[in-house]
Amino acid sequence: MNHMKQLTITSDAPGAPLLLLGNEAIARGAIEAGVTVLSSYPGTPSSEIGQAVIDAAKDLPHMYVEWSANEKLGFEVAFSASMTGVRTMTTMKHVGLNVAHDPVMTACNMGVKGGLVVVVADDPHMHSSQNEQDSRYVALQGYLPVFEPATGQEAKDMMADAFMFSEEWGQMVMFRPVTRLSHARSRVILGPIERPEREAVFDKDSTRWVCQPSNSRRHRVEMLTRHARIKEAADSFKYNRLDLRPGAKLGIIASGLGWAYLEDAVRWLGIADQVSILKLGMTVPIPDKLVLELLEATPEVLVVEDLEPIIENQVKVVAQNHKIAKTIHGKNVVPVNGELSTRRVMEALAQVLSVEMPVDFRSLDAVGDEAAPLLPLRPPALCSGCPHRASLYAEGQAARKYKREFKKEVAARCGDIGCYGLGFFAPLSSDDTQICMSASLGAAQGIAQATGGPTIAHIGDSTFFHSGLSSLANAVFNNANVTLLILDNAITAQTGFQEDPATGRTASGSPSPVIKPEDVARAMQVKFVEVVDPFEVDTTIDTIGRALRSEGPAVVVCRQACQVLKQRELKEEGKRFVPCEIDREACNDCRVCIKRLGCPAILIEAEGVVIDSGQCTGCMVCAAVCPKDAIKSVGSR
């Protein structure tokens, strides 16, 4: 116990156990490998990896760490730093890889000098994502080796080894956890920390780092050769493990969490002695000889992997090349959508082997389905006092006024990725579209250009700087009839308060200039640019209204701090929010405050509408909405 007490993620304590989140284990692996540069854009479920490395860098002076403006920048910084010979990494979620895809595809060709690991966390079941996609398709496209950890321990060990592997082969490694690996805690035995003594020197080899076709044709041949050799080495890769059982009825190939569920499933079904298992730690490229051995030793094969049939299709190629006509099961019995689970793997095994299920999951589902109508859903909501609620409410009111005045609807209200995405839910119902990072402004332009507009887009500061700058330039360039609300709380709140270009400090805490969205908009020749405090409700509604009536693109910056951070600040100063309260005499229980704002601090109790003083931040937005003037600050008593 006392031993554990002192341990942290940067402790050089080989052999000591530590309870770590999967993402922390990944970070620890990188620290053990002596990673020197981390550049990343946060995104669930990957964010804690970058955060843990950034926190660790305070104890490790050889490191450079940054929150990058977006994943493309994050990748470019890590890749080019690798050209100087040091070990580098970038982390992102699956959709972040779409943003980084362009440089990744050229970097695959070029190869690397210092070890480069690109961690891409996939999110099966879309726990916190707009889509479900399998990043391994990009690896196939770019001939990148993919490492998939199955446990926290393996995540740590494999990550440390990934840097050496990358250096050995001169190719970056894609490291692919899934949500249930990233966000699962387990016991991890620490390894030694390597202190790199390399000097970063840029390798000025322009035939290598310049993608002129004359160079790139050669790069591509080199990449293909590299990949073929990695493929041969895959058979002896230490995280690929074949466990052949004589007389096995089924061969199973599993990777990542799929393997963990499989180990539970075969025991539960009582068939552990009837199956041969090939556990793959590297899933692109697959080890042909091990696969062939399994194919030859078992009557049929099942592939268990989260999301797409990446392993399965490669296995089918091996079978075809060797004229093996055995059945290879995979996505025919394991759903391609959603995340794997012990249940799903059991159901697949039961189907393939015709064995009885020990638990009647369907009757359990029926119990749940029967109870469901009685159980109100509990969707996530914007926090009490969130300034986004105020901004989106004002936006809705301005749109209604516009309709009344011009007998014409605002054609669309386009939302974006961030906490404010929760504005989609009633009662704000603020979003007609949500697509991807910074697509609000693109979507608002498309709909405005097709219909004549006007349209509204709203976007946070981090998302605006992520990929909204060129969108705003496009709106000005093509004179789109759009109003852009920039919800500026000067932080990337949703993923856990990472710094961004509007914050005024870097990831490591040193000061940097605050880039103000209104300055950007003015520099881009937007004619209507105003800044409001969304807690000043009437002014905000009026300003958005004038923006809607103005010609061409307009920008309204809604500036107010995230109240979660504000609360932390107050607490440090020994202060607290001054909440609001209801004047019982004045309140006629019309519940307009609830119907319009849906603030979690406003509750209906036996005596009527009440404000929970523990939750209320005193933003006074409900007071502005109340038709009876029945909401007052406790401070005004």
Binding site: R180, H183, S186, L257, D264, P376, L377, R378, P380, P600
Partner: protein, 204 residues
């Protein structure tokens, strides 16, 4: 020592109730006592006032991080509705311990849905082996209602094979230094409440 089978615990509640911290304490306690541990939760969107679940498994060897439906030995519900919602995750004979606190989901607050009128009766009808605890009241008695999650840990502590010393040592390290005493008191009150039998449960 004979092999210790894996024990499955599902924790459910509402974002902000401290479900994640409680899961962390459970994991540290089990690990300190030499068990293999896996604990899984969902971050991000689910935290903001939404329904939160956390899976906690311990034993000699734990393979996967998720509890399967119908296999939980213990369902630890920090809010009554979130207990009823996950009753079908319990295995036959499994126990549901719930906090008699009602937190209205946002659609209920907005008047778009209703909270089940007699949630306690519904829970009793849905599951035979039920206990409850007024964790918020116990925590308030200890000094702050914010320690309700630790009072919940106290309430379920008799159902798990961990030593009191281990619980206390882990809680000491897991909570902010200034709140150690309050949290330890909340844990003790939770443990002493011995979780009231179902007939005395009254969610409010």
């Amino acid at each position: 020592m004979s092999a210790r089978p894996t024990t499955n615990v599902l924790l459910t509640g509402v974002g902000g109730q401290g479900v994640v911290l409680a899961s962390y304490v459970l994991s540290q306690v089990a690990m300190s006592e030499g068990y293999d541990v896996k604990q899984s939760e969902v971050h991000g969107m689910a935290q903001r006032g939404g329904s939160v679940t956390s899976h906690f498994r311990f034993g000699d060897k734990v393979w996967s991080p998720l509890v399967a439906p119908g296999t939980a030995d213990l369902l630890m519900a920090f809010e009554a509705l979130e207990g009823l919602r996950y009753v079908n995750w319990l295995k036959p004979g499994g126990v549901l311990v719930y906090n008699t606190q009602r937190i209205n989901p946002s659609p209920v607050s907005a008047g778009l849905a209703t909270y089940p009128a007699d949630i306690d009766a519904l829970i009793r009808a849905a599951w035979p082996n039920v206990k409850c605890v007024n964790a918020n009241a116990l925590a308030a008695q200890a000094g702050t209602a914010k320690a309700a999650n630790v009072a919940m840990l106290g309430a379920i502590s008799p159902t798990l094979p961990f030593a009191l010393d281990t619980w206390e040592a882990v809680i000491r390290r897991a909570v902010p230094p200034k709140t150690v005493d309050v949290n330890l008191e909340a844990f003790r009150l939770g443990a002493a409440s011995a979780s009231a039998p179902a007939t005395e449960c009254k969610t409010r």
